[in-house]
């Protein structure tokens, strides 16, 4: 009773490849965010004195501020990396799979 279009796609090896590659990519990035962020939270909770360490003698900037700011920049950069690859490489592959399936099942 499954839609023939869906059946066709499920058998397409490129579909398996797309799902695997995009899934692995997304999971890696998500894991990176979670590990970085929760390491930061644990650092704050268990070694709060590290957060207040000055960057260098005479500076008023601290490790905490730099780590916080770095996370904002880093996580934004990761969203850019993901969107670029998902909307580019992966979507090209996706369009091929879908068009092929539409043509063959029409």
């Amino acid at each position: 009773m499954s839609n023939p279009l869906y059946e066709h796609i499920k058998r397409d090896p490129r579909y398996t490849e797309l799902v695997q590659r995009r899934g692995r990519f997304a999971a890696t990035l998500a894991l990176l965010v979670i590990v970085v962020f929760f390491s930061f939270v644990l650092l704050v909770a268990f070694a709060p004195q590290v957060i207040a360490i000055r960057l260098f003698e005479g500076s008023h900037l601290t490790v905490g501020i730099v780590l916080g700011f770095t996370q904002f920049v880093f996580f934004c950069a990761l969203t850019w990396v993901y969107v670029r690859r998902a909307n580019g490489e992966f979507d090209v592959l996706n369009a091929q799979i879908v068009q092929d399936a539409l043509r063959k099942t029409a």
Binding site: Y6, F37, V41, I51, G64, I65, T79, Y82, V83
Partner: protein
Amino acid sequence: MTRLRTDSWLRNAATVALLATPALALAAPDLGTAQKQPLNWHAIGMFFVFVLMTLGITYWAAGRSKSASDFYTAGGGITGKQNGLAIAGDFMSAATLLGLTAMIYGDGVDGYIYMVAFFVGWPIILFLMAERLRNLGKFTFADITAYRLSQGPVRTMAAISSLTVVCFYLVAQMVGAGQLIKLLFGLDYNVALVVVGVLMMVYVIFGGMVATTWVQIIKACMLLTGGTAIMLLAFSQFGFSLDTLLAKAMEVHRLGTNMLSPGKLLADPVTALSMGLGLMFGIAGLPHILMRFFTVTNAQEARKSVFYASGIIAFFFNVIAIMGLSAIVLVGTNPEFFEGGVVGGKLIGGGNMVALHLAKAAGGNLLLGFLSAVAFATILAVVAGLALAGASAISHDLYARVIMKGKASEASEIRVSKMATLGLGVVAVLLGMAFEKMNVAFMVALAFGVASCANFPVLLMSMYWKGLTTRGALVGGYTGLISSVLFVVFSKSVWVDVLGNPAALFPYTQPALFAMPLAFLAIYVFSKLDNSAQAQAERAAFDDQYVRAQTGIGAASAAAH
């Protein structure tokens, strides 16, 4: 050394509330019982311009809102950039601006750490959910959870938890709005609530999602412009040097150099983790945010919208951080902003007024008026988004799918939706009046708790786990809903502060670390134990759902008219 934070300086009730329950105070500025201020004509004038503009947009949108898809999702025709602004707008409520500035002002680096936690959910949503949400959903997130499960019970549950989230959030916003408007504009509390309620109903009922989105976009631009202008003016007094700003701030701050050490906000690891989890995944379970993913053309635009939203939010949080630091020097040492002119005493208007005092200190009355108008506009836009999300749960899930079993006509579904908006508006105004004198911060804890512990686990599992069955989703969803509500009720913020009991039954303020694993466990166990024929059919249906989630084939298409 971190205990220094609980000194007498904190007697200001609003600031105490902010410290004790930061997550909460954010969305609901607890301004205490704000004193009525003289009418502020700059603010009223600018707000009037905003209202005229948004009413014009509503009129324009009303002409274009004909189908259910127009009403719920703006016909799916919003671009990624527009949606990114709208998402950022939904996320950055008036309380975010006021509460976070006040947090930096009062607690230094704690506020910045909190901002990171508040932000980090966005990349996660992008990586794990954005494209699947767009490919599977149509009008509400229950379209996804009920995709291959039993429509009636699953949608009923989704509607109950959506409405719980929306109602708590709405009341918190309304009470905050009333206090804020009384303070900023010199309007009576009840008049302020009625103004907010009526405008919100007009936007949603006549303009649907098209108007709601554009109101949100305009407001987001105003907020960004106003905030950035104030930040630049204030920062210029320190020669745009963060080092100078930090040095001066530490000289005058009551905590001295300790303002750059973590304080009590994250002192306890359990609270820190629980708060991190709740904030991170709460976003991914808020119905008015999830709904935004259905307004874009396709998965590509959905991804782009999170990219833009993340950038805007990250930028603005850093603007707020500089504002808060500048306020320590520019507001914190100026007797003009303290009651009775006593520096270090009670801030005029309460702790959440820091951002507005800074606007005056850096840019004079005109900028103060502008920021006040922005704050009012922000409340309106967020409230409209919430009302629309609540109304769609009632009309699309409960009425069209559960009661009429999918046989309702489009026209009647839209009619129910508009009636639901009217109903929600009236309820919000009445509850706002009833809760005027109360600290409603716990309501936002409830909203985030239910969002992260009931909506999010079911939604995530429905997209990722083949084994999910109706029984597992129901038991897990209700477990998350009930346990998160109970944890908050038994915590200090309700059990002691509202109900007046001597000691809290649950020692933490944040439920996520406890209720979320419970929900996931219940989903897993009860799905595994379910071997009915229906459960097997539901598992078998996953592969087709997965193809659609991955490729977008069969996804609700843009502009069906």
